[in-house]
């Protein structure tokens, strides 16, 4: 196994731990935005699509790369927008009697 591959596996394992740690703190109230937000993040695969579509000179690369960029863009743009739309709706109590006011 090359040192390079091992370094990549290290990144994978650490990212998995960080992922479990961070995501287990998200309350169930926000699970739908969490899912659509992470959904948008895996759209990062568009980076691969861009590299293929932008560096290919053969039709297989161009066709597959262009479709991958299209799919990836739908994933990224749609994912972040729809998450924002949802999170915009999550509001606290509007007149918001704060704790200090109540205590006073």
């Amino acid at each position: 196994m090359s040192a390079h591959l091992l370094a990549e596996i290290t990144v994978l394992v650490l990212a998995a731990f960080v992922g479990f740690e961070v995501i287990s703190k998200v309350p169930t109230t926000l699970h739908t935005p969490l899912m659509s937000g992470t959904n948008a993040i895996h759209g990062i695969v568009i980076v691969g699509g861009m590299l293929v579509a932008g560096s290919s000179h053969d039709w297989i690369g161009i066709v597959l790369g262009t479709i991958a960029v299209t799919f990836g863009t739908i994933n990224v743009v749609g994912g972040f927008l729809v998450t924002d739309r949802m999170l915009e709706m999550f509001k606290g109590r509007r007149p918001a009697p704060s704790d200090e006011q109540k205590a006073a």
Partner: protein
């Protein structure tokens, strides 16, 4: 731009993703979190465009323009009730993109040696399963095909054979290069994606969507190995972790193992014909009340817990229920909403639907938090929820839902159930709650019943 700068930009993007997810842990900061993650994505994309390998921008622009048009239109127009299918669709195209990138690498002879071939094959197979599976999930949720489990004799054997075929071809491809076999692998993976979602019913979709989300994440991470790209590995793995965690939480919230959710075709039982009020076949009686009776009960209560289920969303009654809750609060009644983790068609779906109706998030209470308060609650108002309130889950060993955590409405002093008929829920079983002497049934469409309750409470 030198590669080192591009890699630094990728590191920045990965940090943004993690911070973004961290901010998602509170409704106050969640929106900012999403923006931070989106900014990270922007940084990664700009860095990629400056990569020296990219010499031709034409096709990238074509893809981005089409993708943006579709993505913006989809995200703007989707109704909140249709969110699960939208997420399924976005998830599917992500998996498809991962499989396409891997395929172009393989078919053009880029992958040699197991260090390249393993991630290429993994990404292609898992990405294709995720793509096809998500499309079937989309069709089911959109009700362009039946939401009931689709089964045929020998289904599991066929699925197992397809899965074995995929593994066998994968093994062979590690040793011998073959484009036709590679294409066969992708076709089989697409087939498996379709086949494994077909037997899963509508109410089990929260598990399926979470699992497919994890699949796409992992295939994106594998693509990162193919391209030696760390931001892909980090981004993909974060999603893989999130999807896995949600899958586990959702199946726990159903009291069933993941294997049971995926393979048992749960909910395919034939529904019992519905009776309306009066004594049931076995002599148990159901008490049915009028809107006025229930209004008095609610208006003079100290505390009311509303238990919404997917039926509420189907009846589009989110706004009506919020109107009733506000009216009761003005009379000094303490109102909360008890949200079961699997209420709706994806994790947390019910919270989004109620947030859309302007219910403040402080009132949305999780199951584990509300259950201890139930015995001190005057009225539990069940709207369009069934299996998630069925006491059989606690009391009847042998019931298909035995062991599933429920909202313990039967602990409240009074229970009011808004329901069309006595018909069974998704699990296809009777709900003994309806025969409980504490329970009043208010039959009819949820939205109509709620509007009647609103005007009745005003007149109390």
């Amino acid at each position: 731009m030198p590669q080192i700068w591009i890699d630094a930009a990728y590191l920045l993007a990965a940090v943004c993703f993690i911070l973004g997810l961290r901010f998602l842990s509170h409704p106050r900061t969640a929106r900012r979190g999403n923006l931070v993650a989106a900014a990270g994505m922007g940084v990664a994309l700009i860095a990629t465009l400056l990569d020296a390998h990219i010499t031709n921008y034409t096709w990238i622009v074509v893809g981005v323009v089409i993708g943006t048009a579709v993505g913006v239109a989809g995200a703007r127009m989707v109704k909140m009730t249709a969110m699960p299918q939208m997420v399924a669709l976005f998830n599917g195209v992500g998996g498809g993109a991962a499989a396409l990138v891997a395929s172009s690498d393989y078919l053009r002879g880029g992958a040699t040696g197991p260090g390249d071939l393993v991630p290429v094959i993994f990404s292609a197979a898992v990405g294709s399963i995720s793509f096809a599976g998500s499309m079937i999930a989309f069709l089911k949720l959109q009700e362009w095909m039946t939401g009931r489990p689709l089964t045929y004799p020998g289904q599991q054997v066929v699925n197992a054979l397809v899965a074995l075929g995929i593994l066998a071809i994968s093994g062979y491809l590690l040793v011998t290069a073959s484009a036709p076999l590679y294409v066969t692998l992708v076709v089989l993976a697409l087939l498996l994606g379709v086949a494994f979602v077909l037997p899963i019913g509508g109410a089990d979709m929260p598990v399926v969507i979470s699992l497919l989300n994890a699949f796409t994440g992992l295939s994106a991470a594998a693509t990162g190995f193919v391209l030696s790209n760390t931001v892909l590995i980090v981004g993909g793995t974060l999603v893989g972790a999130s999807g896995t965690l949600l899958t586990l939480m959702m199946s726990r919230a159903m009291g069933r193992s993941i294997a049971n959710v995926l393979f048992s075709a749960f909910g395919s039982a034939v529904l019992v014909p519905a009776a309306r009020g009066g004594p049931s076949q076995d002599g148990r009686t159901v008490r049915s009340g009028s809107a006025d009776d229930v209004a008095v009960l609610l208006a003079y209560a100290n505390s009311v817990v509303i238990v919404p289920g997917y039926g509420l969303a189907v009846a589009q009654a989110q706004h009506a229920v919020h109107e009733l809750a506000e009216l009761l609060e003005k009379r000094g009644v303490d109102v909360k909403y008890a949200i079961h983790p699997v209420a709706g068609r994806m994790p947390g779906h019910m919270n989004v639907l109620l947030a859309e109706a302007n219910v403040p998030y402080e009132q949305l209470v999780e199951m584990d938090e509300i259950n201890p308060q139930m015995e001190r609650t005057d009225v539990a108002l069940v709207v369009g929820a069934n299996d998630t309130t069925n006491p059989a889950a606690k009391n009847t060993p042998g019931s298909p839902i035995y062991g599933m955590p429920i909202i313990e409405v039967d602990e409240a002093h009074n229970v009011v159930v808004l329901k069309r008929s006595l018909g069974a829920g998704f699990a296809g079983i009777d709900n003994e709650l309806y025969y409980n002497p504490k329970t009043t049934m208010l039959f009819g469409d949820a939205k109509k019943s709620l509007s009647e309750l609103v005007s009745a409470v005003k007149n109390v």
